[in-house]
Every structure is written in structure tokens, then in C-alpha cells.
């Protein structure tokens, strides 16, 4: 009798069996728009960690009087030690010019885009008149109202935005998933009173809290991430609670209990992998929301501390200098394109996780 049974299964494809997540990943890769968006964003984000080598006013490598220096790795370089007749730190761009004309052996190798997001460029010879300056061959996106390079600020701001969004999402998901899992799993009294506490917590007005806190301490990046995460976990906890309520009633949980699994093991080893669908499909959209909230916080002036290159601050400058078209157009386009890419990813993730395509797996 078992032969009949066995033949039935051997009709299945002979390749190695894939777990549900592996199948969904495979499906995601077939959704070209989302998959390419994902590749572009991941590439840009990983590349943004190489920014000090690509967009920076620090020279990559200097040869002066037979000695090699690598200022890109930090350290203080006095102007006098490199034959510049000014007080304070070396200006590598000036030095490159100086060596080019004066010396045959000495040279300075600058990054491809030799401007820093924080430096004031008002003394630059290639910028004429009052800031903000319109784009030119040296400053491809122009400068802002303090004479800082917009391209450098935008591209460093990208790294800040994505790091910020990932930080908020990871922390808020950890909190939200744990809390939601506990409510859904333990149900009864834990759930009833826990839900009331969550309702009170979610009644706290986010913006006022931020305003009050930023009047006491100047929030740095990580404090801001933590604060935002503390307000963002509530939503995901509702989804997890629902998932746990549904999954808990299934027999495989009863089987896990009958095997003598611990509560934690049942929650995280057995139920959680089956309840991840809403969490994963919401994550890209949460990235959109978080990037936008950082932009709006920066725009309102309660975001990252002042010199940090941030998109919200650039958008705000665009509003204040509405006639400087490059200050309006470029930051908003960068924001638009980034959010669009993330939405494409979200769309593809949602489709890859659609139970209708994989209905036989459920």
C-alpha cells in the first residue's frame, strides 16, 4: 500500500525542496521592477559606505618630498607641513593646484568629487556672487544658502535617510513583534490589559513629545531613531497579535505543546515563521513612511542636529529660496526617486507574498 503513496510524491519536481521563504524570494526575483529597484537601492546604500573615498574634500593620497600621506584615513594635517603658507588645516584642492605648478615629484590625488558636505565654499574661485549658487561644472547641483555643495549634501543625506529608516524599522519591529506575539500568544488577561496600555501609549502625541524632548536635549541620530521607534512599534504589534491569534489555534501549535516545547520556543520557533507575512510585506512601506517622517522632522527643525546633511533641511532651504530652482528641484527629485524605488520593492514583496499565488502552501 505504501508503494501507491510513494509514487504519488515522486511526481513532484526532483530538485531540492525549497522552504516557503525561499520560494517567495525566487518569486520576488521574477518581478523585475521590484527586483531591479531592490538591486539599485542596495547597491547605492552599500556604495554610500565608500563615500569618504568618492565624495570628500580630503585627499586620497599625497606625495610630498618623497613621503606618502593618506589623509582620507583621518588625522590632522597642518598646512605648513605640506608647504602651504596658511595657518590651520591643509586645503587639499589648493594644494593639488600648487604641486601641479611647482613640483614634479609631489602630487595630490583627490576623490572624484572633491567637496565635503559640511564645508563652506564661499571662498572658492569658481563660485561668483551670493549663495545659493546655481549649478556649474564644479558643483554639479549648485550650493545651498550657506555655500555648501548640494550634491555632496544630498548624497550623504541619502545614507543618513536609509540608515535612519533601517534603524527605526529594526528597533520598532523587534519591540512590536515581541509585544504583539506575547498578547496574541498568552491572550486572556495579558492581552486585555496589555491592549489598554498600548491604547494609552498610542494616544501620546508624537510631535509634541519630540518638541518637548528637543527643547531639553538636542536629539542626535540614535536618540531620534529610538524615539521614532518607540512610537512606531504599536502598529506592527497589532498585526503580530492577530497573526498569533490565528496561528495559535492551529494544530501544529497543539502538537508543539504536546511535545513539551517552552513558551518561547513555541512563539519564536513554531509560530513566528508562519506569521511573518504581514511584517515583511509592510516593511518597505514602513521605510517610505520613516524617510518621510525624518524629512518632515528636519523640515520643521526638530530633526537631526544642524550641520548634519539631511534631505528635510535641503527641502526647507528650497522653500526659503524658492527662486533658486536647483534647491527645490534636486532634493525633491532625490526624495521622489528614492521613495518610488522603495514603493516598487514593496509592491513586488507584496505580490511575492500573495497567498493566492501560493495558495497550496497555506
Amino acid at each position: 500500500m505504501s508503494d501507491i503513496q510513494n509514487n504519488e510524491a515522486s511526481d513532484a519536481p526532483a530538485e531540492a525542496p525549497l522552504s516557503v521563504l525561499q520560494r517567495r524570494w525566487k518569486k520576488f526575483k521574477t518581478l523585475k521592477r521590484g527586483w531591479y529597484s531592490f538591486q539599485i537601492l542596495v547597491f547605492l546604500y552599500l556604495a554610500s559606505f565608500l563615500l569618504p573615498f568618492l565624495v570628500s574634500s580630503d585627499a586620497l593620497c599625497v606625495r610630498y618630498q618623497g613621503e606618502w600621506h593618506f589623509p582620507v584615513f583621518g588625522g590632522y594635517h597642518q598646512a605648513r607641513d605640506f608647504g602651504q603658507d596658511q595657518v590651520g588645516e591643509v586645503s587639499w584642492r589648493d594644494l593639488q593646484e600648487q604641486y601641479y605648478f611647482e613640483s614634479e615629484d609631489d602630487f595630490v590625488l583627490l576623490p572624484p568629487y572633491p567637496y565635503n558636505p559640511l564645508e563652506n565654499l564661499l571662498h572658492e574661485s569658481n563660485l561668483k556672487g551670493q549663495p545659493p549658487h546655481a549649478p556649474n561644472a564644479y558643483h554639479i547641483l549648485g550650493t545651498d544658502d550657506r555655500g555648501r555643495d548640494v550634491f555632496a549634501r544630498l548624497i550623504y543625506g541619502f545614507r543618513t535617510s536609509i540608515t535612519f529608516a533601517l534603524g527605526v524599522i529594526i528597533i520598532s519591529y523587534i519591540i512590536g513583534m515581541t509585544v504583539g506575539a506575547c498578547f496574541g500568544y498568552f491572550s486572556g488577561r495579558v492581552d486585555f490589559w496589555g491592549q489598554r496600555l498600548v491604547e494609552i501609549w498610542s494616544g501620546l502625541p508624537f510631535l509634541y513629545t519630540i518638541i518637548i524632548i528637543s527643547s531639553i536635549v538636542k536629539p542626535g541620530m540614535w536618540l531620534l531613531i529610538l524615539l521614532l521607534a518607540l512610537f512606531r512599534w504599536v502598529g506592527i504589534s497589532f498585526y503580530m497579535r492577530g497573526e498569533f491569534y490565528r496561528e495559535k489555534s492551529k494544530d501544529y501549535v497543539a502538537a508543539a505543546i504536546a511535545q513539551g516545547e517552552s513558551h518561547r520556543s513555541i512563539m519564536f520557533r513554531h509560530i513566528l515563521p508562519n506569521g511573518l507575512t504581514p511584517v515583511i510585506s509592510f516593511a518597505p512601506f514602513a521605510v517610505v513612511v520613516t524617510i518621510s517622517s525624518l524629512v518632515s522632522l528636519d523640515y520643521l527643525g526638530f530633526g537631526l542636529p544642524a550641520p548634519t546633511p539631511s534631505w528635510g533641511e535641503l527641502v526647507n532651504q528650497g522653500l526659503e529660496n524658492i527662486t533658486a530652482w536647483h534647491l527645490v528641484f534636486f532634493p525633491l527629485s532625490a526624495l521622489f526617486i528614492t521613495l518610488l524605488l522603495v514603493v516598487f520593492i514593496g509592491e513586488a514583496v507584496r505580490e511575492a507574498f500573495d497567498p493566492k499565488v501560493f495558495s497550496r502552501l497555506r
Binding site: 500500500m1 505504501s2 503513496q5 510513494n6 504519488e8 510524491a9 513532484a12 531540492a16 525542496p17 525549497l18 522552504s19 516557503v20 521563504l21 498568552f186 491572550s187 486572556g188 488577561r189 486585555f192 495559535k248 489555534s249 492551529k250 494544530d251 501544529y252 501549535v253 497543539a254 502538537a255 508543539a256 505543546i257 504536546a258 511535545q259 513539551g260 516545547e261 513554531h270 515563521p273 508562519n274 497550496r360 502552501l361 497555506r362
Partner: protein, 339 residues
């Protein structure tokens, strides 16, 4: 049957499972669902007791209360009575144990579930599913566990190569075999089978039932076999207990209950078993009116009186007397001689 004089493996006395119902803003208790209301039976080592009854009779709840998974799944539940297990000189009161005290007994009491689709975690391979109970209860190396998984798969009639596959790649019958292999993995003595074949095709049902009967011989298992199909229970069980609305109404050896039912409900249940012969005379068939009453508002006195063909006024007044008929035979109806 032969073990009737021995000390029972499992002895259930006056088991009660009540679920409180909460309502209103303040979550006051507004009612109680008496899913199981005073069930008693003994299960000798090596015996198969079939527990039958229609949906809502509480038979599944009995199994879940004994295996102690009910308390973990619904924390509000009120459990009463005793379910005592005797094994190798050790005794334990199952529905009274703390989690840590229950742990050693978990290996000895395993369950087979009704729905082969939801009872296997879709995110685990067959290997992981069967291996996990061993990790928790048996002191085996990973190579030994792997070997045992292969052995168990072979024993339940599946190829050991299937170990790396996921449950969705199998048919219902194959999944139920995986469930059986998982239940066997910790060397249990008592297996609570909760309608193990109801969700399967008829042709596969027979295969799984025969497999369970073979495994019982081979591993010396004791089954509490919950089902609603009397024909299947008659085939595998030594004794049958019939449940109605949270009570056992009749208990006895399979032959006695199947061929000489004493309770009006058992008679009705038996006459509802389909006959394969189309020319079979169905005029004498007992047809029950209405549905099983809600366990939220049980009728006074005898639970079955609302649908009983021989109900009397006295049936509404007090709970029916339990008649012991000898040889482990008992019936919960004092008017049984009128049938």
C-alpha cells in the same frame, strides 16, 4: 480487554472542562460552556478505547484535556476531576501538573491530530518535524536522531529520502503518516488519536487505520481513539465509549456496544451508519429530530431527553442514573429496558 484486571494505564474520574464566557465592557463572566461534564473511564495498558459522539459532544476536548494542551491553549479554562496515568510504577495526575512536572510525561503521552494539513508546521522539513520531540526528550546525538527519523519514516510507510521535504509536498494520507511518525518519535505509551482519519479519503482511511493497528502491536501502544465514525472505531477499538453533550452515555466492549446498544442515543447513532447495500431496508431507521443542544444551556436532567424517543417527565428532573451491567459495561439511562 484481557488487561481488565490490571492496574489501568490511564484512569479518568469525573473529568470536567468548563469554558467561561465573558461579555460586556467589564468582561464579566456571563456564562459557562460545559464542554465536558463529568467523564469517567479506565484505559488498560495495550487497550484501544474508542470515544465516539457527534460534533460538539466534547470527545475532542476529553483528549485535549488529558494530554494537557487545553490549559496551555486557553488559559481561562476550568478543569475539574482527575486524569491519572500509571506507567512503570510512576503515577501522575495529568491535568494538575505544572509545566515542568509535565515535561517527562509529554514523551509518554503523544497526540495524533485530525487535520493533517494544519498539524504539521509548514515551515519545517519532515526531518525537523520528527526530530524536534527527540531533541526535547531523548538523549541522542544528531546522527542517531537522523537514523531514527529514517527508521520511523520507513516504519510508517514513507521513503526515508523524504526527510528533507516540506509538508506541502505530501498528500493528506502521507502527512498523517508523518504525524504518526512524529507521535512515535519519543517512545510513547499512550497515544491520543483525535479523529486521525476523518479528514482523509476513504481509501486512505483504511491504510492509516491498518498502520495504526500494526504499530500498536509493534510498539505496545495504548490508544485513546477519538472518532465519529462508528464503523471505523468498531474495527480498531477493544472498547467503545459513546459521548453525548459532554457526558459518556454508554461504555462497553466494542462487540457489545456495536451489536447490542443499550442507550437510545447509541441506537440512533448506530442506525445512522450507512449501509453499502442499496436494497437495505431503512424503514426501521431511527431519525433524531433537531440538533445537539448548546452546551451553554444544557437541558435539565438527562442531556438527551430533548431528542429521546423514550423520554419521560422524570427525565427532566434529575440526572439519569448510571447502570452498571457487569464486564465493564455501563449505560447512563435507567429506562434502557424499554428499548
Amino acid at each position: 480487554m484481557s488487561a481488565a484486571n490490571q492496574q489501568p494505564l490511564l484512569s479518568v474520574r469525573d473529568l470536567k472542562v468548563h469554558f467561561p464566557i465573558y461579555g460586556g465592557v467589564l468582561r464579566k463572566q456571563v456564562g459557562t460552556v460545559k464542554a465536558v461534564d463529568g467523564v469517567s473511564f479506565d484505559l488498560a495498558p495495550g487497550e484501544v478505547l474508542g470515544l465516539v459522539g457527534e460534533s460538539g459532544s466534547g470527545k475532542t476536548t476529553v483528549g485535549r484535556a488529558i494530554s494537557n494542551i487545553l490549559r496551555a491553549m486557553s488559559p481561562d479554562v476550568v478543569l475539574g476531576g482527575e486524569a491519572t496515568i500509571n506507567h512503570e510504577g510512576q503515577t501522575a495526575q495529568l491535568n494538575d501538573l505544572k509545566r515542568s512536572e509535565m515535561l517527562p510525561w509529554r514523551a509518554k503521552v503523544q497526540m495524533i491530530f485530525q487535520d493533517p494539513f494544519s498539524s504539521l508546521n509548514p515551515r519545517m522539513t519532515v526531518q525537523q518535524l520528527i526530530e524536534r520531540p527527540m531533541e526535547l526528550h531523548l538523549d541522542l546525538s544528531s546522527a542517531e536522531r537522523k537514523e531514527r527519523v529514517a527508521y520511523l519514516l520507513d516504519r510508517v510507510g514513507l521513503q526515508p529520502e523524504y526527510a528533507e521535504r516540506y509538508p506541502h509536498e505530501f498528500s493528506g494520507g502521507q502527512r498523517q503518516r508523518i504525524g504518526i511518525a512524529r507521535a512515535l518519535s519519543t517512545n510513547p505509551t499512550l497515544i491520543i488519536a483525535d479523529e486521525p482519519v476523518s479528514a482523509l479519503d476513504v481509501s486512505v482511511q483504511a491504510q492509516v487505520i491498518n498502520l495504526m493497528a500494526e504499530l500498536r502491536e509493534e510498539f505496545g501502544l495504548t490508544y485513546l481513539f477519538v472518532a465519529h465514525d462508528l464503523a471505523i472505531v468498531y474495527h480498531i477499538a477493544d472498547r467503545i465509549a459513546v459521548m453525548y453533550l459532554g457526558d459518556i452515555v454508554e461504555i462497553g466492549s466494542a462487540d457489545q456496544v456495536y451489536n447490542d446498544p443499550k442507550h437510545p442515543y447509541t441506537r440512533a447513532l448506530l442506525s445512522s451508519v450507512p449501509q453499502p447495500d442499496p436494497r437495505h431496508d431503512t424503514s426501521g431507521r431511527i431519525r433524531l429530530e433537531g440538533d445537539i443542544p448548546s452546551p451553554l444551556a444544557k437541558p435539565s436532567g438527562c442531556g438527551f431527553r430533548t431528542r429521546c424517543p423514550i423520554a419521560k417527565d422524570s427525565c427532566a428532573e434529575e440526572a439519569p442514573e448510571w447502570l452498571e451491567l457487569g464486564e465493564g459495561r455501563g449505560v447512563g439511562c435507567p429506562h434502557t429496558s424499554e428499548l
